[in-house]
Structure formats: C-alpha cells, structure tokens
C-alpha cells in the first residue's frame, strides 16, 4: 500500500521532508492551491528524486460546476480548466475537448499517472453519473491513441450518499469493471462537518466493496484520495494507494472546501495514534499522560519520542512535525495490516479495531475524556462496516 500526500495550500517543505524520511510514496497535486509555474517546478523537482515518487494531478474539474466556487489558482490553468461549466456543457464534442486538454496538460509534465477529469456524482445512476462515464470513456479513447503514455487512472468523485444504494453501487461496478483503464482515482465527498473518522457502516461496507471489486478482484490500481485513517480499511479491502494531507480539509473531502467560507477558528494541535485508530487533540494526550497510559497510545514514530517524558503540551509540536507524525502513523498502520490476502488483512484490521475499543475503554476507566470527534464512536462503524462488507463479498 502506498501513501501519497494530498497536496493543498501551504505545503512548505513537508513533502520534501516526508520523502527524505521515507514516509510518502507520492503526491496528488491540487492545482487550485498552486500557481502553474510553481506546480510545474514542484512536479519536475520531485520527479528528479530517487527513487522517483508517484506524481499525479487531480484536474479538479468538479469545482467548475459549483455555484460561485472558490477556484483559487484553477482559472490560471488556461490550458485545461474552464470556469462556470454546467451539465449542459458536456456535449460529446466538449467532453472530448476537455479530456484532451486535461490529459495533454498532464502529459507536458513528468507525472507518473494520468488522471481523467470528472464531475461530482450525487448518485451512481443519475445524469451526472452518465456524464462521468462519458468523460471516462473519452479519456480511455484518447489514452489509447497516445504513444507510450503513463498509465491512466479514471477519476470518480461521488457523494457519500451515493453509497446508500447497494443496487446502484452494483450497477456502477458492473459498468466500470469492464473499463480498459489502468486504474481509478476515487474520492468520496463526505460532508461530515468536523473532522472525524466516523463513516456510516452501511455506506462503508459498499465503499469497501468498490475497492475490493476494482482493486483485488479486477486488479486495477485503485488510488483513494482524501482518505486519512480510512486508508487502513481501504488497504485491507484492495486499494493500492491512499492520500491524505496536512489540513483537515485535505484529509476528508468536502466540496465546501471550494466554496467561500465564513472563516473559523484555527485548528487545534493533534496527535495521531495508531493504537486508537484516531487523531486526538494534544490536550487529550496530556490527560492520557497524566493517567499513566501514554505508552499505550503512542504510535512509536521518530516524532513522538518527545512525549514519553513530560506532559505532551509542554513540548514543541509544530504543524509540520504533526503532519509528518500523522503520515508516519498511517505508514505504521499499513505495515501492521500487511498480510497475504484480503481475508487475512481484514482479520488483522478487526483485531486492531477491537484493541482500539478496549484501549478507549481502559482510558475511560482511568478518567480520560474525549471530544465526540476523537472518541471511539467511529470504531463501531468500522467494525460493523467491515463485517457487512465481508458478508457482501462473501469473505
């Protein structure tokens, strides 16, 4: 399982340091947060690293269909990005043009995968879904005519609610499992409000089914964008790579990210714990330290040694180090569920979920309180979701 940085605003030197530390395998660039010259420089610079990381660009065309979107730098990408698109614009000729422009732009850079454009799907069977399939088909057609291009990933961005209908998920899979592409770049839009790991279990089961069918059964390369801790079950089911970034908005995908915001409070410092399968507040880690259970919670990365002695909030914990520790935690979790086949990986994951639940229980008995978003609520979802997925996939 590969781990990618989900690129966004304020990358500083985090990605460089993560490559140096062996924490990342690649980057998925978001052009909205990078001017064209800078994006070009970044891709070229990273492409000269050894070993060469995987370098992908999400065309973010879905932003164009929003009402009054916050497009950032996207309009500067005149080669491929068009503002103010609507569903009606997606005529066959226009689709061909859009796809050609998007892929040609990526071909002008040393990317390792081409990523097709797409639009947001609210369901797998509505008009938007048909258009997304037309766009994917156009990308496959164009890609087939290229001489030795990088592999093509078909991107689909769908709302979490699309996962509510198992029949529609099946129909989607029946269709895309026949596609002549190298893989998929999948993003689930999850308007959950505050950053958290919860995922309604029925939807999670169908999401895992998608990854299993495409990745394990049909041997596609499946890259999951904005996946964060859910990368771990994604890996167990069949994903090849997952991406997560530094801000909460780069860890969970919400279209609100591309709409004008009213501002908000700065994010609180967090610590990512492999044993809790969660990212908790640093203040909560303080309470765990006081309860004498810090070693049970620490992932054991290079970055969290400082917390073994003394109250965590008394240590410097800058955002870039917190990000590196987050990636290191996910990397450690991938290694922990690494096993021969899907069934074995799922069993290890289920054990990890049970251990996390037990650890939360012990912490509670020691008087440690958690915020609703950092507590154990997601573990029940995950446990039920994995169980339901195993039933769907007869695993």
């Amino acid at each position: 399982m590969k781990l990618y940085a989900q690129h966004g605003y304020g990358k500083s030197d985090k990605i460089d340091r993560a490559f140096e530390g062996g924490l990342l395998d690649g980057v998925i660039f978001g052009p909205n947060n990078e001017k064209p010259e800078s994006l070009r420089d970044c891709v070229e610079r990273f492409s000269n690293l050894s070993p060469k990381p995987d370098l992908l660009i999400d065309p973010q065309l879905y932003v164009s269909l929003l009402s009054n979107p916050k497009e950032g730098s996207l309009p500067l990408y005149e080669d491929f990005y068009a503002s103010n698109l609507s569903i009606r614009d997606f005529t066959p000729r226009r689709i061909e043009e859009i796809v050609r422009n998007v892929l040609n732009f990526q071909l002008s850079l040393p990317v390792t995968r081409l990523v097709s454009p797409t639009i947001l799907l609210e369901s797998f069977t509505n008009r938007s879904a048909q258009i997304a399939h037309f766009v994917a088909q156009a990308a496959m057609d164009y890609h087939a005519g290229l001489s030795s291009p990088p592999p093509l990933l078909l991107s689909y961005v769908f709302n979490e609610t699309a996962l509510s209908s198992h029949d529609q998920v099946t129909e989607f899979l029946d269709t895309v499992s026949l596609y002549e592409a190298d893989g998929f770049y999948l993003v689930v839009a999850r308007p959950v409000g505050r950053y958290q790991q919860a995922f309604p279990w029925e939807r999670m089961a169908d999401w895992l089914l998608i990854l299993y069918s495409l990745g394990t059964r049909n041997r596609y390369e499946v890259v999951c964008g904005y996946t964060d801790f859910l990368s771990v079950p994604a890996y167990a089911a069949g994903a090849s790579a997952a991406a997560t970034g530094w801000f909460n908005s780069l860890r969970q995908f919400d279209m609100k990210r591309f709409q004008p915001s009213t501002g908000g409070s700065p994010p609180k410092d967090r610590y990512s714990s492999a044993s809790l399968l969660n990212s908790i507040f640093l203040q909560e880690l303080d309470n765990i330290f006081d309860a004498g259970m810090i070693t049970d919670v620490l992932t054991g990365t290079l970055y969290d040694r400082r917390f073994r002695n003394g109250s965590p909030t008394s240590h410097s914990w800058p955002p870039d180090v917190s990000t590196l520790q987050h990636w290191a935690t996910l990397r450690a979790l991938f290694e922990s569920v690494s096993a021969g086949d899907t069934r074995e990986r799922l069993e290890i994951l289920e054990q990890a979920i049970a251990k996390a639940e037990a650890l939360y229980g012990r912490l509670k008995r020691k008087g440690v309180q958690f915020d609703p978003t950092t507590g154990p609520a997601h573990l029940k979802d995950w446990s039920e979701g994995v169980r339901a997925f195993r039933s769907l996939a007869r695993l």
Partner: protein
C-alpha cells in the same frame, strides 16, 4: 401454422444440392433438425430450421456468428450458407456447419479429472472471448453444447442459436428468459437481456466446471434447502467444489467459485485474468 420438423424428411434438400449425402440424425425438435452429412466429399453438419420470420432471423444470426467468429473453439460455417427451400406451402431453411467429432460433455462420465476440466475451461474461455469480441453472448453454455473432441484435449462450444447480439435487434419476446434451466446466470434471470455481457457466459462455464469436477450441480443437489433452481441460482451460496471432493485443487475451486459469483463485477472481467488463474493451477 409453420411446418413441424419432427418428422421432416431432408430429401428435398438432397435433391436441390448436388453432392449432398445425409448421414446420422443428430437431433431434432419441432423447430430444428440436425444431421451428419457429406457434401462434395467432406463431412459437415446439416442444420434445418422452420422458415417463419422469427426462426429466419435467428438462423441468420447463427450463420452470421459463425461467419464472423473464427475461433477454433467454435464451429465454422460450411461451404453452404443460409438457403431456403419450399416444402409444400412451407419454407424450411438450411445451411452447412463444420462437423465437430467427439462426445458432448453431457455424455462423459463424471467426475472428470481436474486437468481435463482446466483444458475445457481454457477452450471455452477462448470461445466466449471470440463471441464477445464480435458483440455476442452465447446464453446457452451447458455440457450438451460443449463437445470434447476425439483427441480428448480440445473442446468446442456448439450451438450459438440462442446467442445475443449486443448491438442487434432483440429476437426474443420482452420478458422471455433465454437459455436452459439450470445453466442460466443470475443476470439472465434478473436483468434486461440488453444489459447482458460475457460474464453471464462465465457463470454458465462455472456451472459446467463444477458439474464436471464433482458430478453435482451447484444449484441442484441433495444439500440444497429448496427445490427452486432459480432461487438457488440467484440466492444460494453454493459450497465450494471441494465439499464433494477434497482432492480438487484449492486454486481450481477458487476459480470456479469466482465464476459463480452472483454479482458479475466479482466474476472475471478480463479474459486474460481467467486464463492466468487457470494456468497457475498446480495439479
């Protein structure tokens, strides 16, 4: 009312075709009759069909399939394409098809050795692929339509008379379920036939492999809780072939179980993936 071929005498066709000699009757029903024959010194199969509009379209399709599909795992069209002849006030259609010597799998004693089942699966996979490349789904894969050739190694998929042309007009009535009971996929039983693809044929291939290896039908055996084969096909999670014979290689059992998945996206969606998995099985 169209002519009934149950008692049809092919002499009018012999009279019309110089050099045609009729051999053994291979099978017949009211709508279709098949004979071994020789024509201009070579052996063929003579297929005769009633000439009503539906049957004519179906016969045209079958001939078109054999004209377009050139796999050695499908019969080839003979030197005489679709013709018609008047018999009284009726019309019958006929054409010549390559004669495939051997024994249909339905007449082979089961269980069959794993190596033979793998060989059969590889041949039929190639036949399904050739059909699909040309836009067809066979829809009637069953042991009676799989001929084990006299060399014992090669298998040919017969009788594309019920095949679906994914791009052509529908030849069956709306709602009519095509195929043979016990060898239909959940897709055939539940979906609009226009949406069928080759993965439906893969399911039927899985049934044939299961039967050949175990001597048991996966959805019609003494272990099953209900006597409704449609229900079992759509709902019942059949036990792996190893349930009946523990010596069956686990990898082969896994391939068959994958072919028998209820959801077609969980079956094979690539011919080379199926061939790879079959080729990796150690006997």
């Amino acid at each position: 009312m169209a002519i009934d071929l149950t008692n049809f005498d092919p002499q009018p066709i012999v009279a019309a075709l110089n050099g045609l000699q009729i051999g053994q009757l291979l099978g017949r029903g009211g709508q279709k009759a098949v004979w071994h024959c020789t024509y201009q010194g070579h052996e063929y199969v003579l297929k005769v069909m009633v000439g009503d509009p539906d049957a004519t379209e179906r016969a045209k399709r079958e001939v078109e399939i054999y004209r377009r599909c050139t796999s050695e795992y499908l019969p080839q069209l003979g030197p005489l394409s679709l013709n018609s002849i008047s018999v009284g006030t009726d019309v019958v259609l006929y054409y010549l098809e390559e004669r495939i010597g051997g024994v249909p799998l339905s007449q082979v004693t089961k269980p069959i050795a794993a190596a033979s089942v793998i060989a059969m699966a590889l041949c039929i996979t190639n036949a399904i692929e050739e059909l699909w490349k040309n836009g067809f789904v066979h829809r009637d894969i069953k042991p009676a339509n799989i001929m084990q050739q006299t060399n014992g190694r090669d298998y040919v998929l017969l009788d594309a008379g019920l095949a679906l042309d994914s791009a052509g007009p529908s030849l069956t009535q709306t709602g009519g379920i095509v195929g043979t009971t016990g060898y239909r996929s959940p897709d055939q039983l539940q979906m609009n036939k226009r949406d069928l693809d080759f993965r439906s044929d893969f399911f039927a291939l899985g049934i044939c492999m299961y039967e050949c290896l175990t001597g048991q039908h996966p959805f019609w055996n003494q272990d099953l809780p209900r006597g409704d084969i449609h229900f079992n096909t759509v709902q019942h999670a059949t036990p792996p072939p190893q349930r009946w014979n523990a010596t069956i290689p686990a990898d082969l059992s896994a391939v068959i179980m994958r072919l028998l998945e209820k959801d077609r996206h969980l079956r094979y969606s690539r011919f080379d993936h199926l061939r790879d998995d079959l080729g990796r099985i150690v006997i």
